[in-house]
Symmetry: D2
Subunit: 139 residues, 4 copies
C-alpha cells in the first residue's frame, strides 16, 4: 500500500450486530474517519477547508465486504485520492486486518462554495498528491 495514507480503527462493541460481526454501515463511518485523518495530514483538516469557504459533500459510496470484522479487531484503513476532475474527486480505500484485506471501497465527493452552494474546482492542496506517490490524474 505504498503511497497510501493509513488510519487505524478498533471495532467498537456498538458497531457489531446480531450476526456477531461489525455491521456493514460501520465501514462507511470508518472510511469517513480515515478521510478526516488524511485531510488533517495533507490539508490542515476540515477546519482549514471551511475557513477557505469551501464545503466538501459526499456524492457516492461503494463498498465490497470480503471478510467480517469482529468486536475489538484492529483495522487499518488505507486511503488515497484516486481522481480529481473539476469540482469532483474520488477516494479509494482498502481495509486490512493483520495484513489481510477484508474490504475495499471508494467514495465520491464534490466541492461547493459554502455560501452560494455552487461547485468550485477542487483545490490542489486538498488532495495531498504528494502523499499519494504517482500524481493522480487531474483535468
Amino acid at each position: 500500500m505504498e503511497g497510501w495514507f493509513a488510519h487505524v480503527v478498533r471495532v467498537r462493541f456498538a458497531e457489531t450486530d446480531a450476526q456477531g460481526i461489525a455491521h456493514h454501515a460501520s465501514y462507511v463511518v470508518w472510511l469517513e474517519e480515515a478521510r478526516v485523518a488524511h485531510l488533517a495530514a495533507v490539508a490542515g483538516g476540515y477546519a482549514a477547508i471551511r475557513e477557505r469557504g469551501i464545503e466538501a459533500l459526499t456524492t457516492g459510496i461503494e463498498l465490497t465486504y470480503e471478510r467480517g470484522a469482529v468486536f475489538d479487531d484492529v483495522l487499518t484503513i488505507y486511503i488515497h485520492c484516486a481522481e480529481a476532475r473539476g469540482a469532483r474527486f474520488r477516494y479509494e480505500y482498502v481495509v486490512e486486518r493483520d495484513g489481510e484485506r477484508i474490504a475495499t471501497g471508494s467514495t465520491r465527493h464534490a466541492t461547493v462554495d459554502a455560501v452560494s452552494r455552487r461547485p468550485v474546482r477542487v483545490p490542489d492542496w486538498l488532495l495531498g498528491d504528494l502523499l499519494s506517490g504517482p500524481p493522480a490524474p487531474r483535468s
Copy 2:
C-alpha cells in the same frame, strides 16, 4: 399508561449488537424519536418550536434496562412530560413489548433562545399538558 403518549418503533438489525440484543445506546435514539412524535402531536413539531426562535437542548438522560429487546421486536415507547420549571423540563418514558415493561427512562431538557443562547421559559404549548392527563407541576 393512561395520559401518556405512545410511539411505536421496530428494532432495526443495525441496532442489535454481538450479544444478540438491541444495543443500549439504541434506546436513547428511540426516546428521542418518541419525543419528536410527541412534539408533533402536541406542539406542531420541532419546526414550530424553531420558528418561534426557541431551541430545546438535551441536558441529561437516564435509562434502566430490565429485559433485552431483539431484532424486529415491536416496542411501544410511552412518554409524558413529568415536570417543568423555568427553562427546564423533564420527560419520563416506559418501553414495553407485548404489554411487558422492558425499560424505563427519563430525559432532561432546557429551552434557550436560538440566537442569544440564553435560557427562555418553557412555553406551555410545548408541553402538551392536556395530553398528559393530570396537570404537570409548573412553577
Copy 3:
C-alpha cells in the same frame, strides 16, 4: 416504480449531521430496513429464513446521493430484487421525497448455510419475484 416494494422512513434527528442533512451512512441503515420489510412481505421475514437454516450476508453496497435529506423528512425507499445467480442476489433501491428522487443504490448479498457457512443457492421464495413484476433473471 411499478413492481417495486415501497417502504417509508422518517429521518431521525440522530441521523442528521453538522452539515444539517442526514448523514450518508444513515441511508445504509434505511436500505436494510426496507430489505427487512420486503422480506417480511414476500418471504415471512428473516426469522423464516433462519428457521430454514439459511443466513443472508451483505457482500457489497453502493449509493449515489443526489440531494440531501433533512430532519423529519418522510422518505420512500423503493426496493426490488434485480438479479439472482447461484448463491448470490442483488437488490436495487430508489429513495424518493415527495416524488423526487434523492438517492439510488444497490446491495449485494450471498446466502450461506447457517452452520457450515457454505454457500447455498438462493431460494426462490426469498426473492419474491411475483412482487417485482417481470421475472428477475435467474440462472
Copy 4:
C-alpha cells in the same frame, strides 16, 4: 482525576447532529469504548471475561451534559469502578475537553453466567481496584 483510568476519543463527523454538536447518544458509545479500554488494561479485556464463562450486561445508564462537543474535538473519558456488590457493579465517568468538564455519567452492570444466564458474583480481577486508588466498597 487521580486513580481514574483515562481514555481518549475524537468526535467523528458521523456523531454530530443538525444542532452542530455531538449527538447525546454518542456519549453512550464513548463510555462503552472507555469501559472496554479500561477492562483491557485491568482484566485482559472482554475476551478474557468471556473465556471464563462470564458475560457483563448493561443494566442502566445516566448522563448529564454540561457543554456541547463539536466535530473533531478530542475528549478524555475518565472512568473508575465506583461500587461492586454481589453480581452488580457500577462505573462513574467524567468527560473532559482541554481540562474542562463537559459531561458526567455512570453505568450499571451485572455479571451473569454465559450459559445459564444466572447472576454470578463480580470477580475481583474484573474491577481493577488497584487502578482506582482507594479500594471500592465491596460486599
